[in-house]
């Protein structure tokens, strides 16, 4: 049996299986012929590392990847950017390559620089540009650019107020990606195919406030009110086109790496740490300034934080950081106290936040590879982002400090799957994206490696 995985970054269950299922005939048919449900993401529920967790069936702590950037050693400011060389675990296509089975892999995040495989690979948006080596084999790039001239790894910038231009770019990107995948499925020999489209994520961040009446910035009758549904219908049509070119002996999965929901605001982690006496600057900036540009008084600083969909907080530890001040023997005590305080942060109206704040060891209950933060903090069930910038004179922000943004991520993505010869099962519960790799291998009659963490989804 062949397997095709269609990945839709950020596609979210309350829209796909809730609000708009009747508007999406191809996904609806697939779900009714097979099984569907909410797919639990990983912690953190972010594109990087989530897709790699999905294709390796390993949690972030096993991959040692905790976001788009990771700390470089014990440096105060240096970071590493997530890339394929950090992934030491085998992906589904690595395993299949070893068995002589052929794969087509398009747009899966964290595949740049491309690694050799038995088949064809096009890297993802985390690639410098299409002038870089973005395919394997290298000369395959010519075919990609011939089939889909102007192939787009991503849009230029989705946190923008230029909405008309952005919409056009997103449609262009999606059109080209599906055109390429369609061509490859038709013309190449393959056993496993996987494509990841970034469009839904870009749409959610840029257009959520226009359709969601519950969003704090929703304006009735706005110009873009119908755009989100229009895009989902477009995507559904593209999925339908892929389904037309595969044979009956192919299992199909439509999945996402995490969901989305409206953003309520930002918590300025470093502003809060200043207020609580953990972080001291030599001079407080007069305008919002990146943490890296601020002059920190390290000799009087106990902790600092990174922003993003969640916050990573680091303690300044003697003998570990260059100018560390927390004695090693006090580390646990200091961390526990800071965790308690972070958990107690209220929202701007003084209401308790439903925040997940813990040490990486307590989040993963296992050894953590790579450079971890000392504390991971997810504020208000993800409704609040974390802002790392300083100079706001407040610990809260209405908007994202890195540009216009309407949405945050949510803990569950989507799962729909049909397989040849199986009856419709309906909704399945308790499944996770870690289960996708073993499910794919099992469908292909390939033994599931014992070190894969997920279970086979079957019925």
């Amino acid at each position: 049996m062949r397997v095709l995985v269609i990945g839709l970054d950020c596609a979210t269950p309350q829209l796909v299986f809730g609000k708009w299922l009747d508007e999406l005939p191809n996904i609806k048919k697939l779900a009714s012929q097979g099984a569907y449900g909410k797919l639990k993401s990983v912690i953190p529920p972010i594109t990087c590392p989530a897709w790699m967790c999905m294709v390796t069936s390993k949690p972030p702590n096993r991959l040692g990847v905790y976001g788009f950037r990771n700390r470089k050693g014990n440096s105060y400011k240096e970071i590493r950017i997530a890339n394929s060389s950090e992934i030491k675990e085998k992906t589904v296509w690595d395993i299949l390559s070893g068995l002589g089975k052929k794969s087509i892999v398009v747009g899966v995040p964290q595949t740049f620089p491309p690694k050799p495989l038995n088949g064809y690979l096009v890297t993802s948006f985390l690639t410098p540009s299409t002038n870089s080596q973005f395919t394997y084999p290298e000369d395959f790039r010519n075919e990609v650019l011939e089939v889909a001239p102007g192939y787009m790894l991503d849009v230029e910038n989705f946190r923008t107020d230029r909405k008309d231009g952005l919409l056009k770019e997103i449609y262009d990107m999606t059109e080209k990606r599906f055109k390429l995948m369609n061509h490859l499925l038709k013309t190449k020999e393959w056993d496993f195919g996987m494509v990841v489209e970034m469009g839904p994520d870009r749409m959610h961040h840029a257009f959520w406030k226009y359709f969601d009446e519950k969003h704090k910035k929703y304006v009735p009758g706005n110009k873009y009110g119908g755009e989100m549904l229009r895009y989902y219908r477009f995507l559904d049509g593209k999925i339908g086109e892929l389904l037309e070119v595969i044979d009956d002996d192919t299992a199909v999965l439509v999945v996402s790496d995490h969901g989305a929901k409206p953003m309520k605001g930002c918590l300025c982690i470093n502003e809060w740490l200043i207020k609580e006496g953990y972080l001291k600057l030599k001079s407080y900036p007069s305008t919002p300034t990146k943490f890296g540009k601020c002059e920190v008084d390290w000799e009087n600083t106990k902790a600092w934080g990174w922003g993003g969909y969640y916050s990573r907080v680091f303690l300044n530890v003697e003998g570990r950081e260059e100018q560390g001040i927390i004695p090693q023997e006090k580390f646990n005590e200091e961390r526990e106290e800071l965790i308690r305080k972070l958990r107690a942060i209220c929202d701007p109206e003084g209401r308790p936040m439903n925040s997940l704040v813990d040490s990486p060891e307590d989040i993963y209950h296992d050894k953590c590879e790579g450079e971890t933060a000392d504390i991971m903090a997810f504020f208000d069930d993800l409704y609040f982002r974390a802002a790392g910038t300083i100079g706001h004179n407040s610990i809260y922000l209405e908007d994202n400090d890195t540009g216009p943004d309407d949405a945050v991520h949510d803990w569950h993505g989507i799962f729909a799957m049909r397989k040849p010869g199986a009856q419709g099962k309906g909704e399945v519960k308790g499944i996770s994206l870690i289960d996708i790799a073993p499910t794919v291998l099992s469908l292909m009659d390939v033994g599931v490696p014992k070190d894969m963490v997920g279970k086979v989804i079957t019925w």
Binding site: F68, R69, I79, R80, I81, N83, S84, S85, F112, P113, P114, K115, P116, F125, L126, T127, P128, S129, S132, Q133, Y136, P137, E138, D154, E156, N157, F158, R159, K290, F291, G292, G307, G308, A387, G388, T389, N400, D401, T402, G403, D405
Partner: protein, 80 residues
Amino acid sequence: MKRKTTDRKKKYTTVSIPVPLYLKVRGMIEDTGFTSVSDYVTFVLRELIAGTSEDRTKTAFTRADERMVKERLKALGYID
């Protein structure tokens, strides 16, 4: 003589290939300049790897790549 064996041990190792493939290759190299299947397989692999060695050096994540991806992530608002 003993020394020669030790040198060879240091320089060579064994890889396994399926027997039918071995027999096919042995048939292929009859009446050619290749005196053994190992010689021929070494030749083929060298040719293959020479063709892709450029790929391999380029597949490192260079500092320039990192700088460009970092800029992209900033433009996308993923990092400040």
